[in-house]
């Protein structure tokens, strides 16, 4: 239908009634030409590198004295045997479990709160959203200050109670959790905006009808608000999962993966392998695995949850 419209447009009004074959081909050509710049950029910077990565993952890393050769699954083999890789996987899973439910729950809580009729809610909304608009580096620096041993905010407060200083980012057991807290703090405000938008789509008479039926606010939230927010939750969840596997900047600024790889997440590991050790072939293999995991997670979420969600 659309191409016919183009044909008429191009052939001019006089040929409108009988669109010739060549005119229709012209229309297709026009369509493709219009799409070409965007398609070219996408191919150049997204599809070509993605395919290139898969290709390179089957080749050894070129060295000064030895060009790259086909090595089959060797890179994947060494991945399985690499303890740092498994450490990064474990860290990333802990990071997911620590950040995703907490940031979504917090986002929902804040959204419900600032959606209510409270005084100064404009201010509150802005306050909750601020972490999102701050540059990553600034966020990391603010929290670095909080975590600094002895002089940092946390230790100063601990000091008031006579507790000794503690190296939060420099201790194996706490470093990853420090990153988790920062991430939750930053993500929750962002997700809140989506929840807030969705909450404002829910007509107020629903809660009035429920109030007349005698339902408590919690019951209403459970039976009505939350189910109606499910599309948003799915969207936010997919985003949260992808973000947690894409996390690298906070790691770079705050801990550089340390101490002793305790905060090395997958993408940070890839970054180190690729750009510090220049083991391009191995980094490509790691990247392929990461992409596969992300694609799988996203598909799984959409298909598993989609059926149980009410879309308006």
């Amino acid at each position: 239908m659309r191409s016919k419209g183009w044909g008429v447009l191009i052939a001019g009004p006089r040929a409108g009634a009988r669109v010739t074959r060549s005119a229709r081909n012209m229309a297709h050509l026009y369509g493709w030409l219009l799409l070409l710049p965007a398609a070219a950029l996408l191919a150049l910077f997204t599809h070509y590198p993605a395919l290139g990565t898969i290709y390179h993952s089957f080749y050894s890393t070129p060295r000064a004295n030895r060009p790259s050769v086909y090595v089959g699954l060797d890179n994947y083999q060494s991945m399985v045997e690499d303890p740092v890789f498994w450490q990064a996987v474990t860290n990333n899973l802990i990071f997911c479990i620590g950040t995703i439910p907490a940031s979504i729950a917090l986002a929902l809580l804040m959204a419900v709160w600032v959606n209510g009729k409270i005084r100064g809610r404009g201010l509150l909304r802005t306050a909750f959203f601020t972490p999102t608009i701050l540059p990553m580096i600034a966020v990391a620096n603010i929290w670095m200050f909080f975590y600094t041993p002895d002089y940092g905010l946390i230790d100063q407060i601990r000091g008031l109670f006579g507790l000794p200083g503690f190296n939060w980012l420099g201790t194996r057991n706490t470093a990853l959790w420090c990153l988790i807290v920062v991430t939750v703090w930053k993500e929750a405000g962002f997700f809140m905006i989506f929840y807030l938008a969705a909450l404002q789509q829910i007509p107020p008479d629903l809660s009035e009808a429920a109030a007349i039926e005698g339902s408590s606010r919690w019951y209403f939230f459970r039976r009505v608000t939350f189910p109606l927010l499910m599309p948003t939750t799915l969207f936010v969840l997919v985003n949260a999962v992808i973000n947690s596997f894409r996390m690298v900047d906070h790691v770079v600024v705050m801990t550089r993966g340390g101490p002793d790889n305790a905060t090395s997440l997958l993408l940070f590991h890839i970054y180190e392998v690729g750009f510090k050790f220049w083991d391009v072939g191995y980094a490509a293999a790691l990247t392929v695995v990461l992409l596969a995991v992300l694609a799988l997670v996203a598909l799984g979420q959409f298909f598993a949850l989609d059926r149980r969600i009410h879309y308006r």
Partner: protein, 356 residues
Amino acid sequence: MSEIVVAGITKAWGGVVAVDRVSFTARAGELLVLLGPSGCGKSTTLRLIAGLEEATAGTVQIGGRDVTQLPPSARQIAMVFQSYALFPHLTVAENIVFGLKVRRVPAAERARRLQRVAELVGLAQLLERKPAQLSGGQRQRVALGRAIIAEAPVCLMDEPLSNLDAQLRQEMRAEIRALQQRLGMTMVYVTHDQTEAMTMADQIILLREGRIEHSASPDEIYARPATSFTARFIGTPPMNLLRLADSLGGAAIAASNGPAVLAGHGEAMLLGIRPEHLRIANVGGVTAEVVASEYLGADTVVQCRIGDQSLSVRGAGHLRLGKGTPVRLTWSAEDAHLFDASSGQRRTDGPAMLAP
């Protein structure tokens, strides 16, 4: 039994007064209709009774208890919203039993009541649908079902039939009325449709710009409208209101050469006669000219003109009167009403009416 007493209730938003010192009593088991044109404050009054709006002034009592400060859930009411307020993700059945589930009515009891209500509102075949898969009228019936199933002593309805077709509306009107009487519910029913008001109400409250214009039984409000506004609002086609001019032997309809219709001064007064009370006669009466006629099946509404004043006449059967035909109109003196032209108030102290 639950009587509703509304005393001096007022609702203002900033400078806008939507409801202005409204007082009325709906006796237990009575169906009270709030009637009025769009924007007159009907919904707001209803929401004040429900507790969904906070009153600026005044009180609401339900069943002898002052509920002005109580939340909606503590008022023991059911309500049908003008916008239906159905839960979009729940099926028809779940929507209807929502309140029963909140109150933890046992499942067997729930199913039994659902069955009965679904039959009543004609939704038995549609219980598994979602609201989005229903027509406007079907959605309205879900809302109705949800209110009915509560069996609350007080039921508030905000234009529950506005989206139904004529036939279904008539059926539902009778159903609601019968149900209300059988269950002995006290019902406040909002509508802008005067037919609904006339056919269902024990008591009609006619609102205008947030104030009570007239409050009476359907008989009374039709037979003795308190103001010219009421007179025009109740009845279709509306009552004819005609300016009077002093003439020989009293006052006649302005610009007519007809006989006196009032035994005394008639300046600054309006004569009101309902179209159904006007008769077309062969002799006597006031002379008018036919402008158009509308055949409705059982009767015909003829638009006429006396000088520059237009009026309508309702006659049985099919009256074939061409444009420009002169007709003679008569009526009985007891069917005529007199209103003050400036205030619109009914004049009971005026001169006697005369039949033309």
